[in-house]
Amino acid sequence: MGINVADATLEPAKGEEPHVSEEVVKAKGVGPIRGFFRELARSTSGLIGFIIVVLLVAMTIFAPLLRGNLKPTTDYWAPFSAAHPLGTSGQGIDTLAMVVNGGKTVLLVGFGAAALTVLIAVVIGSLAAYFRGWFDALMLQVADLFMTIPQIVLLAVMGSLFRFDSPFWLAVIVGALSWPVLMRSIRAQVLTLKEREFVEAARLLDLGTLRIVFVEIVPNMASFILINFIIAVTNAIYAMVGLYLLGLAPLAGVNWGIMVQDGWTNGAMFNPDALPYILAPVAMIVLLQLGLILLTRSLEEILNPRLRDR
């Protein structure tokens, strides 16, 4: 132990890295986007996550071309067959077609809600941190209030009161409820960023408050915001599936959430032929979430130099 301590004092201090390191960065000479993909390719899990997400998005976009027939037939709860590889639903609709087409709402609501969450969090968080004072205090109170309410319960209550009749409103409600945590971390980041001298320089040049906040400060958090956007997507999907499962979301149309809820309430669980009908959407949701989480983890490693150096 003694030796370690004595020796530790002889180690060169951090931040005294020799000057070559700067030159090395320059010598690499790779564009930011190509560099990003190169980094992503170096992490296997990140690449897998990225591919999963891209494939699921592509599947959803091209769903009508891949397997567009969603017409009910009289062939209820049909087992596996060449015509219906995953059997059919209780209404005689091809399960595979439902799975392929059912990602649209999930992805739209997930990304839409996440976009709204991030938007609210960034706007309120950065302005609160920049202005401080009463606005900051008020927003922190509001955020605390939102955070103390159990989200799924609030969603349930609101769902039963308003009966959101379209996925759009579902996205709005989910997004509007999940911003407080992100808002707090954005606020914390802006509090340190706004003390940086380049912000003072922008103030001295009288560039205007909104410009300083949203053009000078916020883009410096771009990677942090991107990672949190993806995390928000996963959270929004969980919240949405939960609402469907509880039957509190609009049950019109075809999507994975409705399939799970439908299977659950119509006793598909007790019918071995209907098993694919309930397992397939669950598998898709798990796959999507897995892809997103893998992607976030490597994005964190790529974009956060402190993690990268370990």
């Binding site: 003072e200 320089a201 560039l207």
Partner: protein, 344 residues
């Protein structure tokens, strides 16, 4: 104090700054007076904690004084209406110490320089703003401008970044630049180029400079034709034309500083007194300032009474003021009559 009857660009009158902290009040700046005119240089020198940066921040309108007045063109900046304040804000620019922190890492040089031009209507369109940005690059010797405009801060060296910071300060055609240790983080060979460039701005654009530095050699070089004020524990202890302050220092603290600075000449530098000739190297805490003259615990000229009475900054010759009981008395008695004749 100005040679002619002009209104100075910037005038600080009896300016105080006291920071309130949990452990008690910290008098960071007390009763500071100085002025800077167009094309003039005032160097503020002293050790860390002497109040030079706090004074500079008050001059730049970044900090409101707790007492006294900061005036731009004769008008207190904190009593200005918004139009006057905007004019002041644009005319007085600040160049920070650390070129690694003062440029936004995600903005290219062109974006940094064109933003204020477009925002304040100094350029009608992007093309014109680009042209002006290129001209500013040439001003600060970043040539050819095309090689720098599309670069990002991490692609530039420290000296190049600091030049971009100066170019940015020049975008709004300022009349006064406050340079807060702007050259202290640069390598010697790069520092000289930077100082020459700033000198050129003073001569060609008639920009006034409030130049903050801890390095007396830099103050001497940059401020030779201007004035230098030496600060100690929040107060100006000596002020006068730079050549006189540096070559004929009157306050014992100024003398100690000059004695402590190493010279790039082996034989000369080894003639200097150990410890700058001081009795103690401890810098007192601002919260518990010594009584009387705050320099007395370290002062080699300490006399009975120095620890009782606070010396005032008094004139000892043309344009020269010193706050010292001992040297102030000696020089005053020596120069009393000639000064009167000159003044009369």
């Amino acid at each position: 104090m100005l040679e002619s009857g002009d209104t100075p660009l910037l005038r600080m009158t009896h300016v105080d700054q006291t920071f309130k902290t949990k452990k008690g009040d910290v008098p960071a700046v007390q009763d500071v007076n100085f002025e800077v005119g167009p094309g003039q240089v005032l160097c503020l020198v002293g050790e860390s904690g002497c109040g030079k940066t706090t004074s500079a921040r008050m001059a730049g309108g970044l900090l409101k004084p707790t007492g006294g007045e900061v005036a731009y063109l004769g008008k207190n900046i904190w009593d200005m209406d918004s139009k006057e304040f905007i004019d002041y804000r644009r005319s007085v620019q600040y160049v920070h110490q650390d070129p690694y922190a003062s440029l936004n890492p995600i903005r290219s040089v062109a974006a940094t320089l064109t933003a204020p031009l477009l925002k304040h209507g100094l350029a009608k369109n992007r093309h014109e703003a680009w042209e002006q940005a290129a001209e500013l690059c040439r001003r600060v010797d970043l040539t050819p401008p095309e090689a720098y405009l599309s670069k990002f801060p991490h692609q530039l060296s420290g000296g190049q970044r600091q030049r971009v910071a100066v170019a940015r300060a020049l975008t709004l055609n300022p009349k006064l630049i406050i340079a807060d240790e702007s050259t202290s983080m640069l390598d010697v060979s790069i520092r000289v180029g930077m100082l020459k460039m700033l000198g050129k701005l003073r001569d060609e654009l008639n920009v006034g400079f409030l130049f903050i530095t801890h390095d007396l050699a830099i103050a001497k070089y940059f401020g030779w034709s201007g004035k230098t004020a030496v600060m100690y524990l929040g107060k100006v202890v000596e002020i006068g034309p730079t050549p006189e302050v540096i070559n004929n220092p009157q306050h014992p603290y100024t003398r100690a500083l000059l004695n402590a600075v190493p010279e790039p000449d082996p034989d000369l530098t080894r003639t200097k007194l150990p410890n700058g000739g001081l009795r103690s190297s401890e810098i007192p805490n601002l919260r518990e300032l010594p009584t009387g003259c705050t320099f007395h615990p370290r002062c080699p000229l300490f006399e009975a009474g120095c620890d009782k009475v606070v010396p005032i900054l008094a004139e000892i010759g043309p344009n020269r003021e010193v706050a010292c009981h001992v040297t102030g008395r000696d020089t005053r008695s020596q120069t009393d009559s000639p000064t009167r004749e000159l003044a009369g």
